[in-house]
Structures are given as structure tokens and as C-alpha cells.
């Protein structure tokens, strides 16, 4: 039976080689022998039988039996430069102060968004390779923009090569599921007051037949129009009335109310509505709009999700671009591939096939209906929320038939692959320890512990909608590539 992980976390990188004097050979003979055993269990047993403390590592070949990858990683373990860079990136991440500025039109504010460009979730992908829900959402976006009148024409335009596609993340934005953002759509604008960068996300449409699951029927398009014409300006008016909104305290509060801020946003959405309510009721908002907007938000337990994602994106973008850092700054899926980025490897995506999601399905659906893992929402886990904060939301673990204790175990497990606890987001069930944050690609590869992601499951066909929810894992192969790329940069 393994001993319990230390919690709160200490930084594992505390063992500086310069300073190993106290642990070195010269002193070894004066110390009690304490052994870490890697390999044959019998050897650990005989050490234990002789009264010496021993910890047996549950060892498996690295990277699925890739000895070269194992050696590449070994050369980066406890590297003082990488550790320092990670410390810096982590500090940038934790010191971020995302503030909701307002809602703007995507084409007006998103950096790098060309006219007639359509953004999507995950790493780059071309039209031909896109999954069903993403294609459907793009058709919907074309109809919404009025670039085509019929579904048929929209499909033809989408496939024509005239529409430039690009990842949301290349424009400092994130979008759940298909993550489709076209120039006329309203987006949340989040400013990181500490570092000055901004991040963006589209607005959540609710459940059922919605664009992010690929729907593009008139009801969906009409809703998008209403969101642009009524919801967005009303939100802006309300925000102006209440004078901006700091997002981290609200997220922290929601974590104490049973949300993990990915699959469960019920508390946070309620808190947001509560904060906005005085603004909706101010004299500048017509009564009819106030009612419609309140109803819309109240009817959607995931309304906060997109705002939370933009906040996470702003914090992680602040931590991106630190030379030598192995911390992960993005994890995103386009329904075909899962991609990650790390702070020290600039804009590169490290990709692997998107996994299936292990979860529970709504009535009438089975596994053959499920799309592969999809969406930018794993930005939550990248920021130490969602699957990493599962201890805050025991109900979520039931998606895979688990127990509250497993929720806690999952959070603890993620501590092993992260840089440290984020004290801004605390977990009551773990004695108010901070959420494990700053995924270190090195540690993922070393432990073969893939980051846990709580997520929704889309139907593989466009427009059917969400068919379930569950848990998936970020593929190890992405992290193996990231470690190798970092090693190459260090070597050159």
C-alpha cells in the first residue's frame, strides 16, 4: 500500500544538484540508507526486510517502450535552467489577474483574425480533415455571417478554399467543443491586469442543438443573432454599471461551491448572474431585454464556462514564451487531433490522435455516436481546474462510476505532474490546498500520468448536440514530443 502523497505540495524540483552535498556519497555512509527501488519488486522487499526504508516505484518502460525518449527526458530531469524557467512561468501564471472588460465583436478585437476568417478549436486543421460537429459549426457560422444563403451554398463555400481557417488559440482565444468563432460573433474580452495581455472566448449558447455541437438550423442561427444583437450589448451595459468584474475570486468561490469549472459550472454561472443582476436592472436596459437575458443565463448552467476559459487562457498566455520552460500552456482538441503547447517551445503544437471520452451517455445514444475528444475547454485543466480540481466537485467523478474519494485521488495524482499548487484556487476537501497547476511535460512523461480532463461528449454528426459527458486523458505522445523538442532547443 503506497504512502499518501505529501499535501500541500512541496516543489519536487527543490533538490538542486549544486546542493546535494548533504545527500552525496561522502555523507552516504553516515546516513540511514533510504532506498528508492526501480524495477524488481523482490529487491525492494529484501531492503525492507533489513529494516531500511524503501519506496518501490511502479515502473514501466518510458513512453510505451521508447528507450530514446526515456534518455532524452533523463537529461532534462532536475535541470536548474528548466526549473528556474518553470518557476518564472508559474509565477507569471499565478500572479495573473483576469478582469472581464466586456463583450466585443470578434472581428474588431481578435489579434490576427483576417476578414472572412473562421476560427476553430484545437490545433490547426484543414476543412477536409475536420470532424462532423466542426464542419457543421462552420456551415452555421457562414450562414450566420450571411456569406451564403443555403446550407448547400455554405458547404460549398466552406470547402472552396476561400475561407481561411485557424485555431482560436492563435488569436488568443478559446472556444468550447467546435470552438467556431466568425468575425461578427460577440466574444468575452478578458484583460489580465497583472501582465496586460488579453484573451477571448465566444459566448455559451446553452445545451441541445447549438453551434458548438455543429447545429446550424434556423433556431441555432436565430439564437446566435439574438446573442449578438441583444445579449452582448446588454452584458456590456450591465458590466459598465457594475464596473468590470475580477474573475479569479468568482472562480475560487465556485470551487468552494461544488464546481470544478469545466464539466460543472452551476455555482459559477449563478454567481455571475448574481453579480450582473444589478446591471440588468439598471435604467439603461429595457425591461424586456433584462428578462430575456436573465432567463437565458439562468437556463444555462454552463454559461460561465466560456468566460472561465478566457480567464484561464489569459493566465496561461501570460506564462507562455518563457525560454527553457517545460510547463504546458495549452491543451486543445479539434476532434481529430489532441494538441499541446509548452511555454518554452514558442508556437509549436505537439499532436496525437484525439482520444475517446470515457463517460456516461444520454438516453438513446451509444459509443458509436460519440465524436472524439473535442474543444478548447481543456484550457481549464491546463490551468489546474476541471479534472485537476475534481476534489472540489465529487459529483463529477460519477461520470465514470467513481466515488468522492476517487475525485480526491485524481486531484492528488495530478499533483505529481504539476509544478505546484495555485493558492488562488483552493480545495476545501484537501484542507484548502491550492489546485495542482502548471503541468510539467517532463513529469507527465516520467510518471506516464496523463492529465485528466473532464469533458462533454459531442455527437459525431453535426448538429445532434451533446450526447454525454465523461473523463478523458491528454495523450502521452504529445508530452513525449514536447520534451524532445525542448531537449533539441537546449542542445542547439
Amino acid at each position: 500500500m503506497p504512502k499518501q502523497c505529501a499535501w500541500p505540495l512541496r516543489s519536487l524540483s527543490a533538490r538542486q544538484l549544486d546542493d546535494v552535498g548533504a545527500l552525496s556519497m561522502t555523507k552516504l555512509f553516515d546516513q540511514e540508507l533510504q532506498v528508492v527501488s526501480v524495477g524488481l519488486p523482490a529487491f525492494a522487499e529484501s531492503v525492507r526486510a533489513n529494516g531500511a526504508p524503501v519506496v518501490a516505484v511502479d515502473w514501466q518502460p518510458p513512453a510505451g517502450g521508447n528507450a530514446k525518449a526515456g534518455m532524452t527526458l533523463a537529461k532534462l530531469v532536475n535541470d536548474p535552467k528548466i526549473d528556474a524557467a518553470n518557476g518564472k512561468a508559474f509565477e507569471l501564471f499565478t500572479s495573473s489577474r483576469p478582469v472581464l472588460e466586456g463583450v466585443e465583436i470578434a472581428g474588431d478585437v481578435l489579434p490576427g483574425m483576417a476578414p472572412r476568417m473562421i476560427l476553430h478549436a484545437g490545433p490547426p486543421i484543414g476543412w477536409d480533415d475536420m470532424c462532423g460537429p466542426m464542419k457543421g459549426a462552420i456551415v452555421g457560422a457562414i450562414l450566420f455571417e450571411g456569406w451564403a444563403e443555403s446550407r448547400k451554398d455554405a458547404l460549398a463555400l466552406a470547402a472552396s478554399g476561400e475561407i481561411p481557417y485557424g485555431p482560436c488559440q492563435h488569436c488568443n482565444a478559446v472556444g468550447p467543443m467546435a470552438g467556431v468563432i466568425s468575425p461578427s460573433m460577440p466574444v468575452w474580452v478578458v484583460r489580465n491586469d497583472a501582465q496586460g495581455n488579453r484573451a477571448y472566448s465566444n459566448l455559451n449558447e446553452g445545451l441541445g442543438k447549438v453551434l458548438r455541437f455543429g447545429a446550424h438550423d434556423p433556431e441555432t442561427i436565430d439564437r446566435l443573432r439574438w446573442m449578438a444583437d441583444t445579449l452582448a450589448p446588454t452584458l456590456n451595459t450591465a458590466l459598465a454599471h457594475i464596473g468590470g468584474l475580477e474573475i479569479k475570486p468568482l472562480m475560487a468561490q465556485a470551487l468552494h461551491m461544488g464546481d470544478e469549472l469545466h464539466n460543472r459550472n452551476a455555482a459559477a454561472s449563478g454567481l455571475l448572474l448574481k453579480r450582473l443582476l444589478p446591471g440588468f436592472l439598471c435604467e439603461k436596459v429595457v425591461c424586456e431585454d433584462a428578462t430575456a437575458v436573465s432567463e437565458f443565463i439562468a437556463g444555462n448552467d454552463h454559461f460561465f464556462l466560456n468566460l472561465s476559459m478566457a480567464a484561464c487562457k489569459s493566465m496561461l498566455d501570460a506564462a507562455h514564451g518563457v525560454a527553457d520552460s517545460s510547463l504546458v500552456t495549452a491543451m486543445a482538441r479539434n476532434g481529430v487531433e489532441f494538441g499541446i503547447r509548452t511555454s518554452g517551445t514558442s508556437g509549436r503544437w505537439f499532436k496525437a490522435p484525439a482520444p475517446m471520452v470515457d463517460g456516461l451517455l444520454f438516453p438513446g445514444y451509444d459509443v458509436s455516436d460519440c465524436a472524439l475528444d473535442l474543444g478548447d475547454s481543456a484550457i481549464a485543466e491546463t490551468a489546474g481546474l476541471g479534472g485537476f480540481a475534481m476534489a472540489a466537485a465529487p459529483a463529477i467523478v460519477q461520470f465514470v462510476g467513481g466515488s468522492p474519494a476517487e475525485a480526491v485521488a485524481n486531484t492528488r495524482a495530478m499533483a505529481a505532474i504539476t509544478h505546484g499548487p495555485n493558492t488562488a484556487f483552493t480545495l476545501p476537501t484537501l484542507g484548502f490546498a491550492g489546485t495542482p497547476s502548471g503541468i510539467d511535460a517532463r513529469k507527465v512523461v516520467d510518471c506516464r500520468l496523463e492529465p485528466i480532463i473532464n469533458t462533454g461528449i459531442a455527437h459525431r454528426k453535426a448538429g445532434v448536440g451533446q450526447v454525454g459527458a465523461g473523463i478523458t486523458r491528454a495523450p502521452l505522445a504529445c508530452f513525449v514530443q514536447a520534451v524532445s523538442a525542448l531537449a533539441n532547443i537546449r542542445a542547439s
Binding site: 515502473w59 438516453p363 492528488r412 505529481a416
Partner: protein, 525 residues
């Protein structure tokens, strides 16, 4: 049983359940054999629409606080599933909080350090191709390392040893079978009492032999550092042996140092002895089998004591530790009466010794000693190429077999752990009318077989019985490498072998000389 598909639904009033719990219940119900589809939902408008769309049920009035269970399948299955649903919904808050969920065991060295911050040594026994990376991780995290794994690339070994040296860390191995650090046996090692003698050895069984003999002679050790078999190779340059030597020099508890290796590259040997000579601690050196060269090496180096065999090394170290003169000659020449007696029982045809070794260094040492006494000795690991057996499974003349060599261990456990292969060979050799003496080793300690005599004694009796049927005797000569405190217990193992009429010597070298003298006396007549 009914083949007909039915749809049954049931409402539960005033039963609010979280949608996640209900999805879980639905999944459970779907798993009942014979159920096609099942759904448990709160009867909200949206949920009812989902159920209608799934073709399960329509026309139900929405009552948001009402729970609806709909099941489709064959009648018996539907009834069974509905019972499960009722039982499940009726369940009171139970103690099933899953508190016994196992926490993640450490999956890497760094993760292990989170549980043992003061760890100071990593014991690496992964397959060889991964061992260098794990060792490097350990060293980079400030851990000393013992690397049991073999088949590590020589370039990697050099890289690891340089890194360790530059950071004042000890790396024992790769291919280090045994070590004893701070009294704790690591890998295949014996429980040896503590004392003033420190050992550095590039040979696993060599280290075991020396430390066990020190224990048998009433002394003890501070540390027994294994270097791995390639350390004194010219490419590695004895980095670990030199580092271990310096560490023992610096260690106040260590009064006497013993260095053991198979013959090193000459310039490396010279360098090692040179470093040892500059220390002010008496150092006993046994580079197994390299003799005349040693005189030159030792000249003018008064701290260096040259030993001819592993046993000499132990005897000399113990004498130095006790302040007495080592009595090497007596050990070398004593032939017990039982050996003389045994020789008388052999026929003139029984001229040959067959040695069946589990310890590679014992076999090597035996080849050295026997070669000088009896001339040509064949082996699968010969000292000279012309003495190599063309077929290692077929002995000729005097033959000594290292059963731990690759050709015998591929796909099989090592003979120190598994005695079956040696037992078969022992029966074969004893049936050979030209064979007079069968010589073997028994290695005790952690990692070795739990009870070697239990495996061997019945086979010895069988071999003697077979020989007896054709009017012959076979003489068994052996040494047991172990201590009183080993899990197998030295005294018990030796007693059982004596009962089986095995002639026992305290050391391998003595056993070899004993075997030789039995054969010499027998052939002289």
C-alpha cells in the same frame, strides 16, 4: 422467458437526483442482459423530449420534481432492471464513500522522492535498455545509485560514471549484482556483520565470497561497494573503484580496504593500486588470477597486500584487522582426512573433475587454480580460447561450467535462483564413468533460492544411487557462500550437504584445491 420487446416506465414522486447519478443508474440498467435501452431522468420538458426522440416513450406530462425510469427490452429483463432501479433509488445514504480507494503509487523516481524526501540511493533493476535513463534521473536528483541491470551501453556507463564522479555521487554498476551499504544488503547480497573492513569489488560473487568469508572468520565490514563488471575496462578506467576507494579512505569506520576484480586492463590496475598505495590504510588487492605482474605493481607500496585468491584476500584483511599474521599456507595445503578417504573410493578410470558453477567469478577462480594444478581445463568461459568447449552442454576432460553465462540463462532464471538446470547436468556428469569429482558452489543470500539444499540433496542422493548401481562412487566437493544471518542460514545448508556426503570447504578456492587433491590422489592410486 419472453422474446417480446416491451417498454415499461415508472414514476417516482418527490425524488430529485443529480443528473449525473441518474446517468449512472441508466448505464447500470442498460447493462442488464436483455435490456435494449434504459433511461432514468427527472421528468423535465427537455428530458422528456430526449426520451421521445430516442423512441422510448412519449405523451408524458412534465413534472420537474418527478423521476421517470423507462426501460425497453424483453419482459423478464425489464422487470429485473426495474427492480434494480427501485432498489437503487431506495438506497439510503450509505457508508460507501470509497475511503479505501488506493492512492496513486509513485510512478517515477521524482514522484517517489515526494514520499521519501531523504532518500539517498536508487536501486535500479529495470531491463538494460532503460536502465541508463533511470540511473541518470536518479543521479540528477542527487541520489547515489546501484544499477543491477546489465546490457547497458558502455558509452552510457561512462557518461553515468563521469556524471556521478563530478557530483560526488556513487554509482555502483551497471551490471552490479551485489552491494552492502550501511549494513543493508542490496541486490544479491548476504547479511554480513558490521566491522572495520571496507570492500570494493568489480565482481559480484567475488564480493559475496570475500564478505562472507570475513563474516565466517569473525570479522565484519563497513561497506561493500560493487562497481559492476566493466568498471576496470580500459574505456571506463575504474571510475567507480577509484571513487569507492577514496570514499572508504575518507570513512573513519573503515580501517582496512579490500579491492577485488577479475584481471583489469594493466594500466588501469596500475593506476588503481597506485591510488590505493597513496592512502594510509592497509589495502588488500586481489585481481583474480593476475599474479607475477602483481609483484612489480606492489613493489615499494607497503600498504598494499597482494592476495592470490578471494579467500586469501578475506584472510589477509581479517588478519590485518585483528593485528595477526595471516595463515595463508595452512589454508592452502590442508587436506582433510575425508578427502584422502574419498580418493580411495574412486576407480583409476575416474580421472576428471566436472565443475558446475552458479557464480561466474567462482568458475573463473576455479579455472585459474585448477589450470596450474591439472593442466588443460575446458569451459564455456575458458581462460584460453583453445580450452573452449565446442558444445557447452557436453563436457570433456576436466570441465568447469559457468551455468550463469548467457547461453544458459537466456529465457531461464539464473542458477542461483533456479537449480533445475544444474541438477540435470549433475546427474549427467555423475553418470560419466570417467568422472571422479563433481565440484560446485552454493550461493546464499537475498535474491538467491530460498532453500538450495532442499533442491539439491535429493538429486545428490539420486546421483550416488545411480553410480552405486554400476559399482562406482562419485565424490562431491562444494563450498557454500553465505552467512549465519542469511535467510537460508549457512550452518543449516552446510549440515544438510554434509549429510549428503558432500565434502565441504570454507571457500571456493579451498574447494577447488580439495577437488584437485582428491583427483591427484586417486590417479596416483
Amino acid at each position: 422467458m419472453s422474446d417480446e420487446t416491451t417498454i415499461v416506465h415508472k414514476k417516482f414522486v418527490d425524488q430529485y437526483h443529480d443528473s449525473v447519478s441518474l446517468m449512472q443508474l441508466s448505464a447500470t440498467l442498460c447493462k442488464v442482459p436483455g435490456v435494449d435501452e434504459a433511461s432514468a431522468v427527472m421528468a423535465t420538458e427537455g428530458n422528456l423530449k430526449l426520451i421521445a426522440d430516442a423512441g422510448l416513450l412519449s405523451g408524458i406530462e412534465p413534472v420537474p420534481n418527478e423521476l421517470l425510469v423507462v426501460i425497453r427490452g424483453d419482459a423478464d429483463a425489464v422487470a429485473e432492471a426495474m427492480d434494480i432501479a427501485e432498489a437503487s433509488l431506495d438506497r439510503k445514504v450509505s457508508g460507501e464513500t470509497g475511503d479505501n480507494v488506493e492512492l496513486t503509487p509513485p510512478r517515477g523516481i521524482e514522484m517517489a522522492l515526494d514520499q521519501m524526501a531523504e532518500a539517498n540511493l536508487a536501486l535500479i533493476s529495470t531491463p538494460g535498455e532503460y536502465a541508463a535513463a533511470e540511473t541518470l534521473k536518479a543521479l540528477r536528483l542527487g541520489l547515489n545509485a546501484m544499477v543491477f541491470s546489465d546490457n547497458v551501453d558502455l558509452a552510457d556507463e561512462l557518461m553515468l560514471k563521469r556524471f556521478a564522479r563530478d557530483h560526488d555521487l556513487l554509482v555502483m554498476g551497471p551490471d552490479c549484482g551485489t552491494a552492502i551499504v550501511n549494513g543493508v544488503p542490496l541486490g544479491f547480497a548476504n547479511f554480513v556483520r558490521r566491522g572495520p573492513i571496507g570492500v570494493v569489488a568489480a565482481s559480484g560473487t567475488g564480493l559475496q565470497q570475500v564478505t562472507c568469508l570475513i563474516d565466517r572468520l569473525g570479522q565484519g565490514i563497513t561497506q561493500a561497494i560493487g562497481t559492476g563488471g566493466h568498471d576496470l575496462d580500459e574505456h571506463i578506467g575504474g571510475i567507480t573503484m577509484l571513487h569507492g576507494l577514496r570514499a572508504l579512505e575518507a570513512d573513519d569506520e573503515t580501517k582496512i580496504i579490500v579491492l577485488i576484480s577479475k584481471p583489469p586492463a594493466p594500466e588501469i590496475a596500475d593506476h588503481v593500486v597506485d591510488v590505493a598505495a597513496r592512502a594510509d590504510k592497509p589495502t588488500v588487492v586481489n585481481f583474480i588470477g593476475s599474479q607475477p605482474m602483481a609483484k612489480g605493481v606492489v613493489e615499494g607500496r607497503q600498504h598494499i597486500h597482494w592476495a592470490r585468491t578471494l579467500e586469501d584476500a578475506a584472510t589477509t584483511a581479517v588478519a590485518l584487522a585483528s593485528g595477526t599474521e595471516p595463515d595463508l599456507e595452512l589454508a592452502a595445503e590442508s587436506v582433510p582426512a575425508e578427502a584422502v578417504d574419498a580418493a580411495r573410493r574412486l576407480t583409476t578410470r575416474q580421472r576428471y573433475i566436472r565443475g558446475l558453477y552458479s557464480g561466474g567469478t567462482f568458475c573463473f577462480e576455479a579455472l585459474q587454480i585448477l589450470g596450474t594444478k591439472l593442466g588443460t581445463v575446458y569451459s564455456n568461459t575458458p581462460l584460453r580460447e583453445h580450452c573452449r568447449l565446442t558444445n557447452p552442454w557436453q563436457s570433456r576432460g576436466h570441465t568447469l561450467i559457468d551455468l550463469g553465462d548467457d547461453e544458459f540463462t537466456r529465457g531461464r532464471p539464473h542458477p542461483i535462483i533456479d537449480h533445475r538446470l544444474r541438477n540435470e547436468r549433475l546427474l549427467e556428469e555423475s553418470a560419466d564413468p570417467d568422472v571422479g569429482v563433481i565440484l560446485f558452489d552454493v550461493v546464499l543470500g537475498y535474491g538467491a533460492h530460498d532453500d538450495p539444499v532442499e533442491e539439491m540433496v535429493p538429486v545428490l542422493w539420486k546421483a550416488m544411487g545411480n553410480a552405486d548401481k554400476v559399482g562406482r562412487n562419485v565424490v562431491f566437493v562444494a563450498s557454500v557462500c553465505g552467512t549465519e544471518n542469511d535467510p537460508q542460514n549457512l550452518a543449516r545448508q552446510e549440515a544438510a550437504l554434509r549429510q549428503a556426503k558432500v565434502l565441504l570447504a570454507n571457500s571456493n578456492a579451498q574447494a577447488v584445491r580439495l577437488a584437485a587433491s582428491v583427483i591427484e590422489r586417486a590417479t596416483v592410486g
